[in-house]
Symmetry: C4
Subunit: 259 residues, 4 copies
């Protein structure tokens, strides 16, 4: 891959190498990417702290300033990425930038949403509401860039996605049937928990996933029998995806060693 | 497969192609089947809403009318299916219709029970009781026709059905033994929860499936030791079917790629 | 295998064929074994009912009589088995009977304990205490004779028993460490639940098996962090045996198809 | 491997053989190691009992003496191990002792921490605080020496450690996202449980691991829908490591039988 020469272009090439993990020739991440990785984590720690009342009541000022600074850095990263992409022959010019975006559209969206909505509101002098601030968690997806090993697991999951979807569909059918069953069995006795199929569905999902909070459970004999059957079948809901994923990973491990 | 000619017969052939997924030549489902699929889902949404008190108290009228309409459509589908089956050489005449039913008896029953009991009662001027209305969930099984991928998972499960039955039998034995154990350990202290083996069985199933509602749990030292052992063995109850299904899926994935 | 002739000996041979499943030439179980199978189940249903107060208070008499009858039948079965074993060349005479017992010592013990202790006490005119009556559950193990398919699962489990024992040891170590951790974190705050390592162990087993009754859980920040780590590691406690068993079953399925 | 001769040296060789499991020529453990194994277990039983109030209030004296004795034995074992290592050519002299330590640094640390901190404080006339006494659980790791079969499982886990780390990372991301989701959904309604992301995280870990204590759970409709989705995805958190480990064990079992 030929890279452009020239003073400005040499700089652009270096920025490109700093930002794109697959262009970084040395082992690990570039200093810029290490900085960005820690900024992502730091910004999420800040967001988490922001929601804590004790922290809100504290004397800590500079929270808003820190937030604005982070937004600006992510904005600068976004612009720099697009500009520096031109250092690659494939991504030259406007059409090239389009190709760059289409290469990893999800990452591009994550980069954009990581700063744009909040920065826009702030620049208009408005305070971003809580729901919008929660968009900051999208920054987590920016991290996918730094962990190529994710592909190991994603590939194995993709090879059994059809079976997993069938398992999910079966679980949904089971979930509905369990809700109807308990509605019929306990609807009259416990109207708060089982008084309608919609209400029963909460119990049903809590039981089928074997979470079992204990906020609602059957009390009649017939309800307990029905719930017992549902709980046992619920084990299948755990065992089926477990088994499918196991099969896929086994196949993956086997082919890795038998080229 | 030769299809009959003639004006009426051409129509019957088209109806047959619209209704039977394996006769539909284009990709995906026929428009009629899409409509029926959404009607099934819609009728279940309606049934779910019907059980909700807020919805019952609402101003929404036309619920009964909508229900009758759905019953009539399912009745029409049932009759049309049987009539149009004659477009296939194999299913011609009365004997052919019998063969058609025997080809998929479970689907035929689901098609029939999806409308017949309720429509019969309504045509006699009676209001169907709640238990009968719950038969509507059978419509879920009508959907099996539209998801041929279910076969992927069902085949894998069938290949290990004997092992799964053994695992289930072991669980049942374990379940009973755990109930007796806790009845002996806690029966005197907590008569409400462990006062008889039958009562203990509820705790036993809730623990072995690792649901753990927390409505009943041992309080004595000996009971806690016994319950701890039961809970650990209960993990095996989860692990065994999980492992069996995983083994079956692995075998399936392996043979798929090594023809 | 040569069988003895003669009138009395022909009868013994027939009894032997009726009682021993591997000597029964036709498909399924012999009539005698069907009867014994139902008697086992019936005697356990009776025992279960006996523990129920509503049943105790009922007008149902004949419970004691039914119990004595069952004990006598099991006693007769035990004697007949030993006597009829002589129909087999290998098990002739006193030495042969010893060989017969050593062939399936666990089954022999189950056959003996299924009636002996209770019948002995009753014949001495004593009422068997509750703990002794609970020995009746040993009759469940008599059923192993009728389900040869159990071998399918037992064989797979035996092939990975060493790995399962290691997994169990790791779980025990983890269990103790988790108990110490929470004792240190919450011992002062919740003396009832975490006031000593022994107390903490109950919480620890309930969490590691993901049962989670909710009778005791950490309330301090440090305790919640520790409990979260324990819960995540607890998933491994489920995943490890699950994975080991899956590997064993896969191997079993693979060799079954590749002879 | 040549061993030194001479009276003192013959003794050192015998001590070395008694202490190092791989030098013990007969089957099983040497008498000294059996003694040490039981001492480890005994010292932990003592520590567990020490935390029990009923035991503290009991008349049992000699607890402190027993503890000092155990510390001295572990100290003696530590010194003897280092001294006797010289019986092996590789571990001769000071440099050899360094090589001995580097061969199993974790075991060396466990051996040292099993007695040193507490013995030091006691010899200074101070009472070791509770947190320091809890260091005794490190003695558990001394037991690794006696169970070579641990390697069976550790090897299988090592072969899929990368995939397991990815699964763990995915779980951490999921855990944070679930906490943010429920904070947004229920933060206003249940400030105690969901009032900040940090608080939500406790619910999140309890649900994703399917423990489900029931101390905190969503109560609003939107919160229940979100929690249901989280619980279903949480099953994946169980299924993914389960599947990865299963795949690794399968591969292990397969290669064991096909050399």
């Amino acid at each position: 891959m030929r890279l452009e020469k020239g003073l400005g272009r040499a700089f652009r090439t270096r920025v490109h190498e700093q930002l794109e993990t697959e262009r970084w020739k040395r082992k690990g991440l570039s200093p810029t990417n290490w900085f960005l990785l820690f900024l992502i984590l730091g910004s999420l720690v800040l967001y988490t702290a922001e929601t804590e009342r004790e922290f809100q009541a504290s004397e800590f000022r500079g929270l808003t300033e820190a937030n604005v600074l982070i937004l600006i850095v992510f904005c600068a990263e976004f612009v720099a990425r697009l500009w520096a992409a031109g250092a690659d022959e494939r991504f030259k010019g406007w059409a090239g930038r389009g190709a760059y975006i289409r290469a990893h559209p999800a990452l591009f969206m994550a980069d954009f949403l990581a700063f744009a909505p909040e920065l826009l509101l702030l620049s208009l002098g408005l305070t971003p509401p809580g729901a919008l601030r929660s968009l900051r968690v999208i920054r987590l997806f920016k991290m996918a860039r730094y962990f190529p090993t994710f592909k190991l697991v994603v590939d194995a999951l993709r090879s059994c996605v059809q079976e997993l979807l069938v398992a999910l569909s079966l679980s949904v059918v089971l979930w509905y049937l369990a809700a109807v069953l308990l509605y019929l069995a306990e609807g009259d006795v416990q109207p708060d928990g089982f008084g309608s199929i919609t209400r029963s569905m909460w119990w049903s999902v809590v039981t089928l996933t074997t979470v079992g909070y204990g906020d609602i459970y059957p009390v009649t004999a017939i309800g307990k029998v029905a719930a017992g059957i549902v709980a046992v079948i619920g084990l299948g809901t755990v065992a089926l995806p477990s088994g499918i994923i196991a099969g896929a990973f086994m196949e993956k491990f086997r082919t890795r060693r038998q080229p």
